[in-house]
């Protein structure tokens, strides 16, 4: 991971502030509607054989992004702030960690009276309106035009908020790396949050994410979201199966297709830290989206109230005369 010094961070911030100020009118132009070609993936659970080729591929191509923490870790205050160090446990593959952005989850379920052992890759769902990016107070997490949600390791302070607001608690923290070391490591931040970035750099080069490319069973398919929705529905219809991710959290860019209902699957998997569930998830940002309407009405209400008051006062004075 390329370190960013405090000076270069401030320079970058000032430069972006300057660019914003200079561009003036062009600002709203940088706001772009979600690309209709937002990419999504279909994960066909029935095809997965649990070989972990996707896990290997992910770790291999993304190893240059993995944290290399500096030791000793700075002392952090207060005492309740704990070091989270996975650098000596890079081999852990049965859960998500800062070094394992995708892992194979398994479940024993019964389909048509037959006992079945299912395996399936788990990673970030890449939500359409990701709370991790919306609620990041520092601008480190953001959604890209192609539907990828990415945490910038050069900016992230490791506050863990993205994990706390993520419905699946996906991001994982590594202490001892990142910008916080150059700011006030004792009092703010605690490293960097890591998660699947869906090989954004490979996609930029026109390549496929490593986990998809290396899968011998073609468990995952990537393509424009609308096409992937059709594919997921066609596959679900074909096997009499179920879809997860299309509507969860208001819609994600990952669609699991399962031969068994997801309530059953979620009950059968090992859940907990680093091991996401398959439970129903309501749109986490729905309240904020609804309140946006109130924000649009508020100025009009203020103007109307003042104008009404002025009108009544003028009428009263006119009546007195």
């Amino acid at each position: 991971m390329k370190p960013l010094s405090r000076r270069s961070f401030l320079k970058a911030s000032l430069a972006s502030a300057g660019a914003v100020a200079a561009s003036g009118v062009a600002l709203p132009a940088s706001a772009k509607g979600a690309d209709p070609k937002e990419l999504a993936t279909v994960i066909d659970i029935g095809k997965c054989i649990g070989c972990e080729a996707c896990v290997d591929a992910c770790q291999e191509v993304n190893s240059f992004k993995f944290p290399e923490p500096k030791r000793p870790f700075p002392k952090m205050y207060p005492k309740r702030v704990k070091v989270q160090d996975w650098s000596d446990k890079r081999e852990v593959r049965d859960r998500l960690t800062p070094y394992t952005w995708l892992y194979i989850q398994s479940a024993s379920v019964t389909v048509d009276g037959e006992e079945l052992d299912l395996t399936f890759p788990r990673r970030c769902m890449h939500c359409q309106n990701p709370p991790c990016a919306d609620l990041c107070p520092w601008g480190a997490a953001r959604k890209l035009e192609n539907g990828i949600t990415r945490i910038d390791p050069d900016i992230c302070l490791g506050g863990n908020k993205c994990k706390m607001v993520c419905p699946w608690e996906i991001p994982e923290r590594q202490t001892g790396v990142g910008l916080y070391l150059d700011l006030a490591p004792a009092f703010a931040g605690n490293g960097v949050m890591f998660k699947c970035d869906r090989c954004y750099n490979r996609i930029e080069q026109g390549e496929t994410p490593a986990c998809i490319e290396q899968c011998p069973e073609d468990v995952q398919t990537i393509g424009p979201r609308d096409e992937m929705i059709k594919l997921a529905h066609a596959r679900a219809e074909e096997i009499g199966g179920y879809i997860y991710g299309e509507t969860e959290n208001g819609g994600t860019n990952t669609f699991y297709v399962s031969p068994v209902p997801f309530e059953e699957l979620s009950a059968a998997i090992e859940k907990g830290p680093g091991r996401p569930h398959f439970d129903p998830v309501k749109d986490a940002m729905a309240d904020a989206d609804n309140l946006t309407k109130a924000l649009m009405i508020a100025p009009i209400a203020g103007i109307a109230a003042a104008a009404g008051r002025f009108y009544n006062q003028a009428k009263k004075i006119g009546g007195e005369k």
């Binding site: 914003v20 940088s30 706001a31 989206d289 924000l295 100025p299 103007i303 003042a306």
Partner: protein, 155 residues
């Protein structure tokens, strides 16, 4: 100056301070600091560690703040400017409030499902929104010390 006008000014001042305090509190609660520093452990303040709840309150406060601000601006343009003139510290406060408001609006836009900003702009609005609020707090403290209010003179 009429009694009604003075009464209204008093109400607006209290509402402004209350809303701004609430906005500051729920705004700072967007950073993971209240749990870290035991503030959310104080009985009755646990909600400060609930990011979604404080975010909801921040939006509500923003709606109230916008309504109050536009009320004040309209009232000033229609009537106030004939009764009093604003002090230079008022213009500094207004500039900072405007900066907080504008960056806040962009923060809200960013949170909509179909709106994306460039990385530099995302970083800028996130950090500048906080920075402008901190500047306003410092400015308010300074103006309090030098006893400079919003109104320079009554006309």
């Amino acid at each position: 100056m009429s009694r009604d006008f003075l009464k209204e000014r008093g109400i607006i001042k209290r509402a402004y301070l209350l809303i701004l305090f609430g906005m500051g509190l729920t705004g700072f609660a967007q950073m993971p600091i209240f749990k870290r520093y035991y503030i959310a452990d104080i009985p009755g303040l646990g909600w400060l560690a609930d990011f979604y709840f404080t975010h909801f309150l921040h939006y509500l406060g923003a709606a109230l703040f916008l309504a109050l601000s536009f009320y004040c601006v309209t009232a000033y343009l229609l009537e106030g400017r004939r009764r009093f003139s604003l002090s230079s510290s008022a213009y500094v406060r207004i500039a900072l409030l405007l900066a907080i408001g504008v960056t806040g609006v962009f923060r809200v836009l960013k949170n909509l499902p179909d709106v994306l900003f460039s990385p530099g702009f995302t970083l800028f609005i996130d950090i500048s929104h906080l920075a402008f609020m901190m500047l306003l707090m410092l400015a308010a403290l300074f103006f309090r010390v030098v006893k400079s209010g919003w109104i320079a003179s009554e006309i």
